[in-house]
Amino acid sequence: MTGTNSNLNRPGIALRLPNRMASLEQARLAVIDYLRGFDVGAGPINRIEVVLEELVSNVARHAKRATSITVEANIGDQGVILSVADDGEAFNPLDKPDPAPFTTLENAQLGGQGIPLIKRLTQQVRYDRKGQSNCVTAVFPLD
């Protein structure tokens, strides 16, 4: 059996990690290990890794009052659903306006590329304030 049908109804993973940069590698290895068991191509895996990197590093670098980062990954009929939550102050990273597109080397804005990358590499991405947590949920097609 191939395609998404073989991936349906598999239990996902959830990790609650301390809010620090070292948690990123721990989350990455766990998510990759989880996805390895399914029909997920190299392209989607790379996109998921990039989005995970951006979301977790944003929390670790900027959410000073957050104590934990919770990463969940699930495979369903929509594709791969990745969520990253933190217990910091309410903050929607997706609200930040995108920087101007790169047109020349001289005028290109340094930094600020993480959120646009997340938006472009996902099929859907949303922010929810759930209780005392910020939660960003991203959906990726499997191919």
Binding site: M21, L24, E25, A42, G43, N46, R47, E49, V50, E53, E54, S57, R61, P101, F102, T103, T104, L105, E106, A108, L110, G111, Q113, G114, P116, L117, R120, L121
Partner: protein, 112 residues
């Protein structure tokens, strides 16, 4: 993450190996810049052994290319793997820092 700097045909060649992720960019940024920028020479960046790039890696490449540009030298890239090429294209970095398939093409572009 490692990098090796050599001189090739009058240009600086920087060959990176590993993941250009947040943690590694933080580790190499200062030494990488110090190894390339003072020469102010045309530079080709070998990405064939870079397995991953995210936004901080994009920023590092942009900063390096801009600083070299301010000194009258051009930076181009070559050998990007599909995973890295997708991110360079998605951010449109490849619109302002060209990517070539081979070292020869990259060298010809910066030394023309």
């Amino acid at each position: 993450m490692e990098f090796v700097i050599t001189e090739v045909g009058g240009a600086t060649k920087a060959a990176l190996t590993g993941r250009l992720d947040t943690a590694n960019v933080d580790k190499i940024e200062t030494t990488f810049s110090a190894s390339i920028l003072p020469q102010g020479r045309p530079t080709i960046l070998d990405l064939s052994n870079v397995t991953f790039i995210a936004s901080l890696g994009i920023r590092l490449l942009l900063t390096t290319a801009r600083t070299l540009g301010n000194r009258g030298a051009r930076l181009v890239m070559f050998g990007a793997t599909p995973a890295v090429a997708e991110i360079l294209e998605t951010t449109a970095l490849s619109d302002i820092i060209p990517i070539f398939r081979s070292e020869e093409e990259a060298l010809a572009a910066v030394t023309a």
